[in-house]
Symmetry: C2
Subunit: 662 residues, 2 copies
């Protein structure tokens, strides 16, 4: 009796029956909506669950090519168990690239495994030799056609042997040839491919050391404000400290209408210099240099002199206008209007920014507006700028930034954008996903041991690690962190070592940082007293309070040790004292740096550090030598329990490079 | 000076500028590749990150409709903080449905918040009244056009008040009206919608109690094997134990070629009955009843009599054939062939299943084959079957199951499929994603306290909870679990209470389970001795070893307490004895059941249970009364530390329903 046809409601059958499944591929950002980030020349781990129904053996391969390229480079993937496969691809140049993971059933390996079981159980299959010889013959042909003639010849020999008899010896020979067989072209059985998109940036996207200064406070002559020429004179100092990015607040003409006075007062007095973020005057807008700072030629000279010292100039991209900006009269439709026709000033109630007009990104004339803004970026790239720190990107539409960064990077892939967004976590992450290369973080407000451990675990774990590159700052012109206000010099050193030792991208706002300025505008305020945002300062760089020597040593260590140049390989070690934080960072190449910090700026703290030997790449109990980057001294440590004492009066931290095992 | 056009490389601008972002929506399975699962009539939580740039207040709404329906039902979503919004939708009937999350900027709420800040800071805006009146007027109009005339009138009053002056009193009134305002139609500013797909099943998909028996062992007459008529006679017993699904191994004709003998021997002797999974003989295939069991009319009678007792019959879907199946001669191309033209028997080397031919799902004739297999399902649905337990789905292509289940559920949404796949986790999950309603689990081999806690935490947490419904079995005809072999009666009771108390879907293979059969085929084997897969048994259901009375009590508790009817609200409580496991389950309605089990079948164990008051919905330290479902006794417990002792000689478990606080 055969099946009676009971119902006839069948729809189209799927095309492919024995399809391999590829699930949970990494790195994928929001299901492929955004590109994962990588560094040109750096290995990038790719992985996926790859499996099929039944018991067949599955093989997986990763391929990569730059967008627009024809040829793929192939990388093997190996099984990590539990149907997970992983491998490594290396983008060779900057720009977008594709990754493709393919999976297929390995008929030959499946047969060889089953044949071995039958042979060992003495349950021979009468067709063993016939099937084995056929599969090996097919593999040899595939190898030959892909140009691997030597391997093909070897597999052809195995096919001939199989035709005679399938023995344990033959199966061992096949297992030994596995590598060669796996390299042959993917067969047709169940092949499935999963395509991912990524973008490779230049190494500075992952490893950068920033110094921020106000050019008008860079004068060495206390009788006059600084200029771009004074900044050139200061380059040796900044480069000597070991920085590689010099970031300048806006250098454009500053408006006079509603100019802010000292200390953010709403009325300015004669001689008040205004906020550099109130951009635009009769002297020009976002593509002009403030006359009091110099000329475009001075700026070009600054870029060139900086480059000669290994320093890049980063500009501030603050897309907003003073009431005197040329755009206000030329393009009034680019701004929001109030019921009486006047232009709205910026506000975040109850705060008002009378000296600033926000741009209306949704204006009906937005095509012209957006193009003008992109042209600002292209203007400065023509003048050699390749890094932009973007002011308050979270107050402008996401769609604008995605469009702008895409436009710029399509032309000049090496341009980097740092997102100044100390805002809600999901907004910060969205900005990173849509294209910002680096992002400010909450480091500035993470002070206690558990806060720091938790936050850096989050920053260095999935899913954010695929697209979010943190850049940590102990201070900025907007933030004199509470942690710096009461601890004096030791707290500056501690925050420096934390920032520079925990994160591959960090920056300081100087010279206030190295001179240990710690006076807030008011109790409980995080604004600086006499903020440089509204007035000119003169600094004595040679002041004995300066921690410049420590900064120089820390930055030298960052250049010396690859472990400090990426945000991978971070591990926190147990210390039986909540005031002492200990971590290690280990590079793919194996070099390892251990950081230890006393979080208490007042008192000496001591305790036992329990080093996890595995995390630092040593066997438990092994003795090893370390070199302290902060003072050049050598100590003997053990991959286990170490007693230490850190006295803030001398030095509140160690930054220890592992030199050699004893 | 205006911006010079430096480059002209701009591409198309995005259409929408101020778009709200919706990210990380739940429940979404594999980025929308598969449907999330729900129960008709059950609330389903939906959530997403919803935000925009800047400081605007964002509002989110969820809508749902059954596929093909026109009208949406709308459900509010509320902010959980950190830009996360959540809400609840309730699918009303079975079948696929859509969920849509919409987000938009709430201009009115944003203005009201900012106006309040300005009013409180005494920094008035000269246009406050004008802007407020306009926004309130727009809200009133939207409410009126959506039929909410009463709310519209109230908001119109507020608009009139605003026109006069924006005061704290008015802002308070707006805040109070918030509920009404939030119900108005979504405005146009930045509205974005995210569509998700889900499928609603009938409640039995989430809550079912299975009993498996071999019909041929159901005879009450020891002189002859059982028939379907004998199964009818046993329905009162099974229903009396409290089960609602009676699952029968295959009831089809059994092949004689290469029939297996007792104990899975490769040669059968005269009188050997063969394995029911060797389906098909001259008497028919997958749509026939084995002559020794009865007729199709007997089967129809069984389905009807079962239904009269609240029992559903579940059939076994084993898509494989004995060499005598009619398809073997009618459709030889549906099977795999060896080099000599013979058909391959099933194997998983070194094991061979000589009495079974696997079907070749990739056959060139697969359209006819797949339709024939679907017709098998439809044949039995015509005979009233609505539940299928699928044998070894993991050895057939995923694409086949996705197609088959889709075909069947499109016609008859209430059909349920249980996946018998004790295989690799990712394969089990894939089967659940593609449509299986329930899945066997590793419960059978999870014995120690940490194993059970870890495994059930995994089963009840994301992401699997969106699509994977576990069905746990202490034993099956294939598995006499090691945990049952050495612990005697107490171990059977313990495994029963664990299965029935931890999981809303569970089953036992009887009567061997309730009669505490514990003899393996060989030491270290998990096969039953004298396995019913190959021979007929006669059971004395009245044997004094039976734990039928305990099963009856446990199943009655499952019917009485909603907390045991879903896999949500599970929490493990700390016990200072590793042999005692304690958990609680709490329903959305608030009822709560506490399970406690002594995992040591030999010795009495005692210890302190530290109840987490929050997890059981009580205040810390509160006294409360519990009713023990296993013996009907009442105890006084406290939402804190409770001492208890469980002696396997009397009863190794409690199943405690919280009755009332003292």
């Amino acid at each position: 009796m055969s099946t009676e046809p009971v119902a006839r409601i069948h729809r189209d059958l799927p095309l492919q029956v024995t399809a391999v499944v590829i699930e949970n591929a990494q790195p994928v950002v929001d299901g492929g909506r955004f590109s994962a980030k990588a560094i040109a020349g750096d290995p990038l781990s790719v992985s996926a669950d790859v499996f099929t129904h039944g018991h067949d053996i599955v093989r997986a391969v990763a391929r990569t090519r730059h967008s627009g390229a024809r040829r793929w480079s192939t990388a093997p993937m190996h099984s990590d168990g539990n149907d997970r496969f992983s491998g490594t691809v290396i983008p060779q140049t900057e720009g977008p690239f594709e990754i493709e993971i393919s999976g297929c059933v390995d008929e030959l390996a499946t047969w060889a495994r089953d044949a071995r079981r039958r042979v060992e159980a003495r349950r021979p299959d009468p067709f063993e030799a016939e099937v084995g010889a056929r599969l090996l013959g097919e593999a040899a042909a595939a190898l030959a056609s892909s140009g691997a003639s030597e391997a093909a010849a070897r597999v052809d020999e195995l096919a001939a042997l199989a035709k005679a008899a399938v023995t344990t010896k033959l199966l061992n020979a096949i297992a030994k040839a596995g590598g060669a067989l796996a390299l042959r072209a993917m067969p047709a059985v169940g092949t499935v491919a999963y395509r991912m998109k990524a973008v490779a940036d230049r190494p500075r996207a992952a490893f950068s050391t920033w110094y921020e200064l106000f050019p008008r406070s860079a004068s060495s002559d206390p009788r006059r404000p600084g200029t771009l020429i004074d900044v050139i004179a200061r380059l040796d100092y900044v480069a000597g400290l070991g920085f590689d990015v010099l970031y300048l607040p806006p250098v454009h003409p500053i408006g006079t209408t509603a100019r802010k006075g000292k200390g953010n007062k709403t009325t300015a007095h004669a001689g008040d210099v205004g906020s550099p973020w109130a951009i635009g005057s009769a002297a020009g807008g976002h593509t002009a240099i403030a006359p009091e700072l110099g000329t475009l030629e001075d700026f070009d000279a600054l870029v060139g002199e900086a480059a000669a010292r290994g320093l890049e100039i980063a500009l501030d991209l603050a897309f907003q206008c003073s009431p005197d900006h040329p755009w206000v009269s030329e393009h009034p439709e680019w701004f929001g209007h109030r019921p009486d026709g006047s232009i709205e000033c910026a506000e975040n109630p109850p705060k008002r920014y009378e000296d600033i007009y926000p741009i209306d990104f949704s204006t009906p004339d937005r095509e012209a507006l957006w193009r003008a803004l992109a042209d600002v970026v292209f203007f400065w790239t023509k003048h050699g700028v390749r890094i932009f720190r973007v002011d308050n990107p979270h107050t402008k539409p996401f769609a604008f930034w995605e469009w702008l960064i895409g436009e710029v990077k399509r032309e000049i892939p090496e341009v980097l954008f740092l997102s100044e967004a100390f805002t809600r976590p999901k907004v910060m992450h969205r900005l990173a996903k849509l294209g910002f290369d680096q992002s400010y973080t909450y480091f500035t407000w993470r002070n206690s041991k558990w806060e720091l451990e938790e936050y850096f675990r989050e920053l260095t774990s999935t899913p954010g690690v695929a697209y979010f590159r943190p850049n940590v700052w102990p201070n900025t012109p907007d933030i004199l962190a509470e942690s710096l206000q009461h601890g004096g010099r030791p707290s500056f050193i501690t925050r420096l070592v934390l920032a520079a030792g925990l994160c591959a991208n960090y920056g300081i706002y100087g010279p206030l940082f190295e001179l240990c300025w710690d006076e807030p505008a008011a109790p409980f305020s995080e604004e600086y007293r006499h903020s440089e945002k509204y007035e000119v300062h003169h600094h004595d760089l040679a002041d004995k309070s300066s921690i410049a020597a420590v900064i120089t040593r820390v930055n030298a260590a960052r250049r010396a040790y690859p472990a400090l140049q990426r945000d991978t390989g971070l591990h926190f070690h147990h210390v039986d004292n909540d005031q002492i934080l200990c971590w290690s960072k280990r590079s793919g190449a194996g070099d390892c740096v251990i950081g230890v910090v006393n979080l208490d700026p007042k008192w000496a703290q001591s305790g036992f550090v329990h080093l996890d030997a595995g995390a630092i790449g040593l066997d438990p109990g092994v003795d090893f030598a370390v070199n302290d980057a902060l003072n050049g001294e050598r100590y003997s440590w053990v991959a286990g329990e170490n007693f230490l004492k850190l006295d803030p009066k001398s030095m509140p931290a160690h930054l220890l490079a592992i030199e050699a095992t004893a």
